[in-house]
Symmetry: C2
Subunit: 344 residues, 2 copies
DNA sequence: TATGGCGCTGTGAGCGTTCACAGTAGAGAA
DNA sequence: TTCTCTACTGTGAACGCTCACAGCGCCATA
């Protein structure tokens, strides 16, 4: 039975570039040229090929293409956070969707990889080297060696958030954490608060560090003393926020405002304050960070700092594709926006 | 310059099966056999090849393999929901992570595809046919033609939730919505509630339909009349829950319990009740569905029905891989669990 | 001793592309 | 007219792997 005849039963073999060439009355080479931009192809041939492609329903076999070009035309979204944060943090949704959509516009599929355990990490690293053109990395903890490893292996890479402790050769896209924190603290000060505390993020993350820095600077600018008792460490989780608020109330009962480094922690802070009988915002103003869905779910709704996640994802993809195309690594910092609601 | 020498500058060409064969002193065929299960290979050769693989750092070129086998050894996670639901619903996180991890255990990468717009849908369909071994489909709305199209194209497919209106030949994995609803309503009845309302999910989703059915049945079993004024349609969103609760209070001010078909809607219901001055659970008991993070974020914390998302994702992957392996489509229904907290 | 079978091994072909190269025709310049 | 250049086209050779097949030696059986 000849190859073109095996159509009757089972799944029909998909058309190849050969079929298109025959149908269009040209050679493989011409079809290939049409597929790759159509340069040096006569108008007549171009039209014939495009029509043949439509008639046959041809789609390029990406495996064959990748085999020879060495490119895979796919990109990995690599998450090395421990799973808790991934579960809880709604920002990942936005980021992931944004990246997927931005890549789709270039016809590039996104491979989702999660490296929670060491075994997963090794498996993913093995896969990435040679099977993926670039990596979108979400991994804020500085202890994480993944960024360095990938960079060393020569894999194009863009991190979400500034990778702490890496050399300057790794691309990243981040919100302007420091100025976001400044905006919030300045706002709290302007609304008349004078004992402004903060619940920080983990201080091995750039977000944690920069938001705290913004807090300190702004206090100084406003002429307020920086009281270390008002600085309570947190871990970005709701439970962490609850505990931090309890500690804060114990250390500084006279506190009248808290800048919390994430909305999720702010939810926890709110529930501790409620149990302690403090009214928000009358007794204590609470400011969050992220403008995640958690901000709307909180009672009262959170005044917070919006991170431009849609722009972050778009920029990550843009920078990554540029880098795959041979450009140098780049750092992009995007402005935040203060969102006024009920908690401050 | 010979091929093996171009190591000095730039990225070194990765080792091929040839390199491994030479290193191990055997032929390509033997290496290939080792790679594919090691049948009909002598212990000595097996050991030599494995050692050579380790020494050279060889990993199989999946493009070359796919080109000849016709398999891609990858799976798509296709989301056809409108984006709002994806953003808001924390269950997707759990589902997505579960699927990714379960697939990773089989060394199969997950391609994330989002078909919000018609153009995206077409692009994804074109990609899927021929570039992916199977599809994990998240698309509960019955108007969605994707399941039918994929099924017709002969692509192995597992849906999350029973696809409404499809023929019975599509595999799916779902929580036992009906019995989950029954458990909740029975519990409300047993705690002494007599005017039990419900806020439904969208009635073009199987979850919406089945949870409502469970509600109706249980009321009847408990000897309570089914009062249509107590049945308010919802859309799974927080705002929808707020509106539904307002309507409910207007239609039936004497209501003393609400079974809400999702936690997110239940959050909305709680905030309307709070504004209306109704105490939960004293005046009105509120029961949710999902046991999503929203249940813990609510005040009071939600009594709800847990959907076993971790098991759902594991089963989806299991069923899909079985189907890729040639087995028949299958339907899996997994039990839910009542979670007691403060709202009822 | 001949025969068959079995376990293991190597080899050639081919999967569907792209790429480099060679070749053709036609237009313009000499 | 002849030559050169340009625009276009076709062809063979890869890319790295798997598959089918043939061949080898060895043992058990006749």
């Amino acid at each position: 039975m000849s190859r073109t005849e095996q159509n009757g039963a089972g799944r029909r073999r998909p058309p190849t570039i050969h079929d298109v060439a025959r149908e269009a009355g040209v050679s493989r080479g011409t079809v290939s040229r049409v597929l790759n931009g159509g340069h040096n192809v006569s108008p007549a041939a171009l039209e014939a090929v495009q029509s043949a492609i439509r008639r046959t329903g041809y789609t390029v076999n990406r495996h064959a293409r990748s085999l020879i070009t060495g490119r895979s035309d796919s990109v990995a979204f690599l998450l090395t956070e421990p799973q808790e944060r991934f579960f809880e943090d709604p920002n990942f949704n936005v980021l992931l969707r944004g990246c997927t959509t931005a890549l789709a516009a270039h016809d590039i599929p996104l491979l989702l990889m999660i490296a929670g355990t060491e075994a997963e990490r090794r498996r993913n690293m093995r896969y990435i080297a040679g099977h993926v053109d670039g990596v979108l990395l979400v991994s804020s903890h500085s202890g994480d060696p993944v960024a360095a490893q990938l960079h060393e292996a020569g894999v194009p890479l863009v991190a979400c958030g500034k990778p702490l402790g890496q050399g300057s050769r790794v691309s990243y896209v981040a919100a302007d954490d420091r100025n976001g924190a400044r905006d919030m603290v300045r706002f709290l000060h302007e609304s008349g608060r004078r004992r402004i505390a903060t619940v920080t993020g983990p201080l091995d993350t750039p977000g944690g560090v920069d938001r705290l820095a913004g807090y300190r600077e702004t206090l100084a600018e406003c002429g307020l003393p920086v009281d270390e008792a008002l600085i309570v460490p947190g871990d970005y989780s709701r439970a962490g926020g609850e505990a931090a608020a309890a500690l804060l109330l114990e250390r500084a009962p006279d506190v009248d405002a808290v800048f919390v480094a994430s909305d999720l922690m702010a939810q926890g802070v709110l529930s501790t304050l409620e149990r302690a009988g403090r009214r928000v915002p009358q007794d204590i103003a609470v400011g969050g960070f992220d403008d995640s869905p958690a901000a709307l779910g909180a009672r009262p709704e959170l005044t917070t700092v919006r991170q431009p996640w849609d722009r972050i994802s778009a920029e990550m993809v843009r920078v990554l594709l540029a880098q795959i195309g041979g450009e140098d690594p780049a750092a992009v910092i995007l402005p935040t926006e203060l969102v006024h609601r009920d908690s401050a």
